[in-house]
Amino acid sequence: MGEAGRPTAKPPARPTTLPGPAQHNAHGKKSKVVTITSGKGGVGKTTTTANLGVALARLGKKVVLIDADIGLRNLDVVMGLENRIVYDLVDIIEGRCKLRQALIKHKAFPDLYLIPAAQTRDKTAVTPADMVQLTDQLREEFDFILIDCPAGIERGFRNAIAPADMVLIVTNPEVSAVRDADRIIGLIEAENKGPGQLILNRVKADMVRRGEMLSPDDVVDILAIKIIGIVPEDENVIPASNSGVPVSLNENSRAGAAFRNIARRLNGEEVPITPLDGGGNILQRFVRFLVGSDSQ
């Protein structure tokens, strides 16, 4: 991708064999396939998928999460659904079960479902075409289909973005994570799934303020891509995944609030992205107020 500029946002041409408006669900509403990807591993894709799923369900949406990280199943654990698994993604694709049998319903949210990854297979058990076909069936019933993409740019990545209407790129304010995000953005554009939107995760406001961490503005500047959310580093995230209750259910968690806001944006609401809120000592805030410089 050496060319300047970027293709303008247009709905990707989706190869579908189904007759009729597959994009509309049972209620005649548009369903959306959203893939959560990153390039670099460990930046927060699974955490994001789980939290957006729960937050969208709380907004009254019918949601299914697909764990596309075959061989490294994780989303079930973060969602607290690991002991309910009977069938998985590969079972559906290879016809060993009906789609409905592999949908695990969440205990607290009757409109939230999970399709777990196979743990004993590898990514070649699924093709991009399989994913398109599967999501076309799911579109009939769900408002949101969220796909948790594996790290890397290989087959698992291609499977996960093949059916996407929208791609969310998760990154951290750190050189190697941003570099990999840039590579992913290029690949997404090359597949006509662009331009994608950015989630900047694990931002430490105090470090940004001291100039020791890339700011959200820096990252947006560098990647030249629209940002849909800024998620702070938050100590509540690990206890949340320890207990299998995503942090967006914790009303006191700042990361939880950030995820809830992203969910509302995905749902079409206008929710302004707050800059890293205030912080600093009183004097610093006061001086920033006086100077009118609060862009951080």
Binding site: M1, G2, E3, A4, G5, R6, E174, V175, V178, R179, D182, R183, I185, G186, M207, V208, R209, R210, G211, E212, M213, L214, S215, D218, D221, I222, L223, A224, G280, N281, L283, Q284, V287, R288, V291, S293, Q296
Partner: protein, 123 residues
């Protein structure tokens, strides 16, 4: 003064700025998707073309990639040269070398335009 203000505002010039600079350099090369050898080849060819018309000061040539608008890249070339070789069509080596002597380097201003890629982006 501005350093003092920065400190008062709690904004340091720390490693974050370094990270940004390094990333901009890395990405501009990642994005162009051209191997270092091909890049060198391109620079050599560009210089060869320019050298057909002017006497290039090889030691001070600077051709480099910079981040452009959006996700594009800009090739910025600074190519100092001594005065254009007017008699070049005549293919007369003696005229060429005499021109070299009559045009002292420091007077012969030079260079290509240098688009300020950074400024374009700060909108």
């Amino acid at each position: 003064m501005s350093g003092f203000l920065d400190r008062l505002l709690g904004r340091g010039k720390g490693s974050g700025a370094t990270a940004k600079q390094r990333l901009q350099f890395i990405l501009v090369h990642d994005r162009i998707n051209l191997s270092p050898e091909r890049m060198e080849e391109m620079k050599r060819e560009i210089l060869a073309v320019i050298s057909k018309y002017v006497n290039v000061d090889d030691d001070h040539v600077d051709i480099a990639l910079q981040q452009g608008n959006q996700r594009g890249s800009v090739l910025v070339a600074e190519v100092p040269f001594t005065k254009a070789v007017e008699g070049i069509e005549r293919d007369d080596p003696e005229i060429l070398s005499s021109l070299d002597e009559t045009v002292p380097k420091r007077d012969a201003a030079s260079g290509a335009s240098r688009p300020e890629a950074d400024e374009q982006r700060d909108d």
